[in-house]
């Protein structure tokens, strides 16, 4: 008789259905986004531009969350065909975006700043993409989520020869933007440039 079968504490690996995984991923990424917003990291990051006038670190982080949702679905491949995987990724991104969108919705109705210090106007503006009225901005947010997630799935689905240069380029641009204040004085003071 095999004792391994009997030990129930090892039997928590329940086979999760594919859609369950997609929903879980979406919830986790959305939850992370909410946590980052509550703690004030998104606002702080938003003050830091990566590409001046276009992308700030705050938007990059938010976008990265949706992208990662798509990437996770792409890696796990819960469905056999690509179109279904894309749909799954879009669903995960949509769930994540919906979860994050609850925050600007709540903030535009109730002033939460007396309790949570970070939920102030700059955060609301950031989450609604500076679009007035806020409702339209929230819809933009909900639309951006699945879009970025689909891109995430595609990134994983593409062959390596295409994926490497693209992802390498994006990461390099991001890093250069992040450390621009460190790079600038070096370039300015060196004899080479």
């Amino acid at each position: 008789m095999s004792f391994e079968v009997v030990v129930s504490s090892r039997l928590d690996e329940r086979g999760s259905s594919s859609w369950r995984f997609v929903i879980n991923t979406g919830l986790q990424m959305g939850g992370t986004g909410l946590a980052l917003a509550f703690v004030g990291i998104l606002t702080m990051f938003n003050n830091r531009p990566i590409i001046v006038g276009l992308v700030t670190l705050g938007y990059a982080t938010l976008g990265a969350l949706f992208l990662v949702a798509g990437i996770l679905v792409g890696y796990k491949r819960p469905f056999p065909q690509l179109p279904m995987i894309l749909a799954g990724g879009a669903a995960a991104g949509a769930i994540a975006a919906l979860l994050v969108a609850i925050l600007p919705l709540a903030m535009s109705m109730v002033n939460l700043r007396s309790v949570f210090l970070s939920l102030d106007k700059p955060l609301l503006d950031m989450l609604t993409f500076y679009v007035q009225p806020p409702g339209l901005g929230i819809l933009c947010l909900i639309a951006v989520g699945p879009l970025l997630a689909i891109i995430g799935v595609l990134i994983v689905a593409l062959p390596q020869t295409i994926r490497h240069p693209i992802s390498g380029g994006i990461i390099a641009a991001g890093l250069a933007g992040l450390f621009q204040e460190l790079i600038r004085p070096i370039l300015a003071n060196s004899c080479v440039t």
Binding site: S9, R10, F38, V39, V115
Partner: protein, 367 residues
């Protein structure tokens, strides 16, 4: 049964001789340390009592305050000890879990105070505040369990410990980000101010309130653990997880139940701590957490009555110790060394009795 003959007697003797080992340098150092500390304590105590800076009323005040803060430590220590019993792991995030509950309950307490509810219905309001604190503590405890302990359930590494320390920092700074680094104060209701007279002795109202609430919570916990089925299952899982599974107990559910119980105790303890010290800020959970952990180890980790006793004991020593031991030796500002006294006591007790004062409940005999 035959009478022990010569060869058996010889075996017994050589067995006993075998237990005597050579006295090494380390033994000498340890014994010198023990004797030196003991001398310090005795000489200091005699000198203080001789000097007479504090009279009986002061000592009584110190003692009662020690019991008060000891009650809080005991409640928090229960969380550590129960989780250790079931998981054999120290939940280092427990102190900060306490902080999360106390912090969240602050907002409720403030709004009760502003509407006058706190002054009008003290019991209901306090129970409401404690309920919210317990709920938030439970939520954060379950999140910590899910992320830091469950993935490492079957591997014997230090990863869950380090994960818990990380969770502790994450909780602290998440609350700092959410609520700011300002120090805030719990409201000061009328019924908490002033003194109350019990058995002819005058005590600040907050002290008997905290002590009695702590004792009530502990009695409740003891009943749950000893008299209910879930408590029985918890004790079974802490004794032997695999055999308990053979008996049909789902270890997951029991572990969650343990965390919930520990978090509830921590929730109550957090609110009581705030009634005593009134100031909350994001870092407040760290030191009580460490002291409660020491109290749990002092009483015997894994032992619930041990944690209760350890908590009270540590509180009293922390309060009475510095003035008693150090004031007589002429140490200026002995209260600054309060933490030193508390932790030295922990180390000394463990050196003399490694399994804690009331001993670990490890299984003594197996079939």
């Amino acid at each position: 049964m035959t009478a022990p003959n010569n060869s058996q007697r010889q075996q017994a003797w050589s067995g006993r001789l075998g237990k005597l080992h050579r006295v090494t340098f380390v033994d000498i150092v340890l014994w010198t340390l023990r004797i030196a500390l003991l001398l310090l304590v005795v000489v200091g105590t005699i000198a203080t009592l001789w000097k007479g800076t504090y009279d009986a009323r002061h000592w009584f005040d110190f003692f009662m305050f020690g019991l008060t803060i000891g009650g809080v430590y005991a409640l928090i220590a229960l969380g550590y000890t129960m989780v250790y019993g079931v998981l054999r792991l120290i939940n280092f995030a427990h102190g900060d879990i306490t902080m999360t509950g106390a912090f969240s309950a602050y907002f409720l307490a403030r709004s009760f105070d502003r509407t006058g509810f706190l002054d009008a219905y003290p019991v209901t309001a306090t129970l409401g505040i404690m309920a919210l604190s317990m709920a938030v503590c439970t939520a954060s405890a379950l999140i910590v369990e899910r992320i830091c302990y469950r993935p490492f359930r079957h591997v014997a590494t230090l990863a869950p410990l380090i994960c818990a320390i990380g969770a502790s920092f994450v909780l602290q700074h998440a609350f700092r980000g959410m609520f700011g680094s300002n120090v805030r104060s719990y409201p000061d209701p009328e019924w908490l101010k002033g003194h109350v007279s019990i058995l002819g002795l005058s005590l600040p109202t907050v002290q008997p309130l905290v002590i009695l609430s702590a004792v009530a919570a502990m009695i409740f916990l003891y009943l749950v653990v000893q008299r209910t089925k879930m408590g029985l299952a918890m004790r079974a899982v802490s004794e032997d997880r695999d055999t308990a599974a053979l008996m049909g107990i789902d270890a997951n559910k029991i572990i969650i139940f343990t965390f919930v119980l520990g978090a509830c105790m921590a929730g109550i303890g957090g609110v009581l701590y705030c009634f005593v010290y009134k100031q909350i800020y994001f870092y407040m959970g760290f030191l009580p957490g460490i002291k409660a952990f020491s109290a749990a180890v002092l009483g015997g980790i894994g032992n619930i009555p041990g944690a209760m006793f350890g908590g009270f004991f540590l509180g009293v020593i922390e309060s009475i110790g510095p003035p008693l031991f150090l004031d007589g030796l002429g140490v200026p500002a002995p209260y600054q060394l309060r933490d030193l006294v508390a932790f030295t006591l922990l180390v000394m007790v463990l050196v003399f009795r490694p399994q804690g004062l009331l001993g670990e409940t490890l299984v003594k005999r197996r079939a």
